[in-house]
């Protein structure tokens, strides 16, 4: 029997893979998508609208498993969805958290939804401050893709005319809460912008998706699909073309290589049977998320590619970047003491943000280069903040009630700079449960991001105090690398085959029918989140692939 050859094999169904699958299927190409986990059933798997007392451990989770939690999105409400048996190692001195969601749609099921465009201040940052290299694209080239993505997924926000943030096409913004108006006034006094966030959460019905009903706890999954996720917004269109075959529980192992060195398909492990299988395609798109994409390609060694496929530059796995997260100030707003409760948690905490304000006029006016943004949080949450309240009895109970609307915090989102010493390679000793060599992480926060952390702590304290708030403290140290789930780099795009893994279209320089369409191709991370940009770049890469097929490149 002749083996079946698909037009394209796509690894991964997150933002990058999902967009590739939709775009390629709609272009009439036969696609086989590999996804490492199962498909979710929102009615069963998303435990929305459950009160804490509906959960066995009151939403605190099984204590025996608590130290495995990846953070806020991985909790009792999402139990069984995030993977906790991921094998990876860290080099001495490296701490790395690697949250993996193998469900169809990946992390888009639970993402934070902040969705700002990157701009030339990001793409051309190297020209501005002299550090590193520019992206091979200018904003004008990618802007139309951002617009199309925003129309497709729906982003609530406002036009803000800020030099660091190109504006987009927005649905009505989320409304400010009491704490936002108070903090905004404080930020204004300190000279820091405090604006509605750009958030992929539907404030009105949009393209057949129902408007949000503002129940809160969005990062536990949305049962009405009122924010973008691949299974709700991209895969149905792909399935409707009948050009998609989605294989679940198919963990990609390596890229198969033709005798001529080109990509022939993908070898994967069926996680149920633990048997290895192969799927063949005329082109292959890797979108398994940054570290995993690098691991798959590094593990794709052959006569042609002894250092891993498409790695003649030696850059595969290098330049790993991540967002530094952490609470730079917390405290409370006495103005709101004893006031009635208010639904502050309707968008987890994506109502407002403090977009980058540093190094705008002069790229080197601060002690650090580039810049960071911050997000506020607080108010009436699912569980009251009791830090700092002493005692017991009626007075204690009353104070908890009085303080319930008042807590606030600010958190940093600071980009790490690409560094020689931050990268992923393959551990020569360790294999995962399927016999696949494990990724080994080498990563530490650098001086630039630690300066941002110190800067942000000081500014946050000033904002809180200028807003009339009581400052109570900050985190002792930033969250460990990996926590933000915003890894970038490892397969960077650029014009020079000697220095970059892919070209400006995410096409690997070495292997013309092998593409990368996740945040691996980004030159660095910025003060903005990654998902919107992954979608825009993946759309562009996928249309380029479709055009190559039309040209007859690989038929």
């Amino acid at each position: 029997m002749a083996k079946q050859i698909y037009d394209v094999v796509v690894i991964g169904t997150g933002a990058g893979g999902g967009m590739a699958i939709k775009t390629l299927c709609e272009a009439g190409l036969k696609v086989c998508a590999l996804n490492a986990g199962r498909a979710l059933n929102p009615a069963k798997d998303f435990r929305n609208h459950r009160m804490p007392y509906d959960m066995k451990y009151r939403a605190f989770g099984d204590p025996k498993k608590r130290d495995q939690s990846y953070g806020y999105m991985d909790n009792e409400y999402t139990e069984g969805i995030w993977e906790h048996e991921i094998t990876y190692t860290t080099a001495p001195g490296t701490e790395w958290m690697w949250p993996r969601c193998f469900a169809v749609g990946g992390k888009t099921n639970f993402w934070g939804r902040s969705a700002a465009r990157m701009g030339d201040i990001d793409f051309q940052a190297a020209s501005l401050d002299g550090f590193g290299v520019d992206w091979p694209v200018k904003y004008a080239e990618i802007a139309p893709y951002y617009s199309r993505v925003e129309r497709l997924i729906g982003v609530a926000g406002t036009v803000q005319n800020r030099p660091s943030n190109p504006d987009g096409d927005y649905l009505p913004a989320m409304n400010f809460r009491c704490l936002d108006w108070i903090l905004q006034r404080g930020a204004e006094k300190v000279g820091v912008p405090y604006l509605p966030d750009r958030v992929a959460q539907l404030t009105v019905n949009h393209e057949g998706h129902p408007a949000c009903h503002f129940c809160g706890n969005c990062t536990e999954g949305c049962d009405t699909g009122s924010f973008f996720s691949t299974p709700r917004y991209l895969l149905p269109a792909a399935e409707a073309t009948k050009n998609l075959e989605l294989r679940t529980n198919a963990l990609a192992k390596n890229i198969l290589v033709h005798e001529n060195g080109r990509a022939a398909g993908v070898a994967y492990v069926d996680r149920h049977t633990k048997q290895e299988a192969e799927v063949y395609g005329r082109a292959v798109v890797v979108a398994a998320s940054c570290v995993e994409s690098a691991r798959i390609m590094l593990n794709s060694k052959s006569r042609h590619w002894p250092m891993g496929i498409a790695n003649s530059s030696g850059q595969l796995g290098r330049n790993l970047c991540d967002h530094m997260y952490g609470t730079t100030a917390y405290g409370y707003l006495p103005q709101l003491l004893g006031q009635p409760s208010f639904p502050d948690n309707v968008s987890t905490c994506e109502i407002a943000w403090l977009p980058r304000w540093q190094n705008l006029k002069n790229p080197r006016e601060e002690a650090f280069i580039r810049g960071y943004s911050m997000y506020p949080g607080g108010g009436c949450q699912e569980f009251p903040e009791t830090r700092g309240i002493e005692g017991f009895g009626s007075e204690f109970k009353r104070e908890i009630k009085r303080r319930y609307p008042t807590p606030v915090n600010l958190g940093i989102q600071a980009p790490s700079l690409p560094s020689e010493t931050n990268f992923v390679d393959i551990d020569p000793e360790v294999k995962d449960a399927y016999g696949i060599p494990a990724a080994r992480l080498h990563f530490q926060w650098g001086a630039n991001e630690l300066k941002m952390w110190e800067h942000a702590k000081q500014v946050s304290r000033e904002i809180l105090r200028a807003a009339g708030g009581e400052y109570a403290g900050c985190s002792d140290h930033p969250e460990i690398p990996g926590y933000s789930l915003h890894e970038t780099g490892t397969c960077r795009m650029g014009d020079e085959p000697k220095h970059f893994v892919t070209n400006r279209f995410g096409q690997t320089h070495d292997v013309p029918n092998l593409f990368v369409s996740d945040a691996s191709v980004f030159l660095n991370c910025t003060d903005k989140t990654t998902t919107l940009s992954i979608l825009a770049f993946s759309m562009r890469t996928s249309e380029y692939i479709a055009e190559e097929f039309r040209r007859g490149a690989w038929s």
Binding site: M51, F60, N175, C178, W181, P210, N217, G338, F342, G391
Partner: protein, 203 residues
Amino acid sequence: MAGQGIERREVLRILAISSVAAQFPGFKRWTFACGHVQADSAQIKNAAYAPQFFTPAEYYTMERLTEMIIPSDGGAGAREAGVSEFVDFMVRSDPSLQYKFRFGLGWLDAHSERLHSKTFVALGPNEQNEILRRLAYKKEFREGEEDGRVFFALVREYTVMGFYTSRIGLEELDYPGLKFYSESPSCPHVNDREHLHLPPPKY
């Protein structure tokens, strides 16, 4: 606007599904406090809870401690919310807590006997209150009672966890989440953005 009705129905359908969410057997007041079943409160009073981790004597002390931390105040407190059942369940589920609770309860009784020649639960409310005040308020801390303070902080933490995750605890807070809002909730004080002239505190 168009189609809004359908989506609202969809949301209400989801709400209806979740209202029959998981029920956990074995808990009496807890179950009642959480509104899982049409509980008959008389029946609950009669049914004795069999602790899963604590000894009956320890459990009795835990009931008293949790009730002192979040009292009923004429309304509902830790006792009504079945907080001691929750703590018992969590300590049973978390081996890292077991020694801390057992040691702390032992400390409390030894301490009470040293002061008043009686176990903690045998003391009158004033004496109990006096002991806890010294563990709970910085101003009243005494040297040599560090172990007691650590234990009290732990009991208080778990009492707060148990109470404010119960139905009556969330009602006490007027928890505004997991509801249906037709638009993104907006600050009601549009003419006072600095919030300097709010109505007097309600609580």
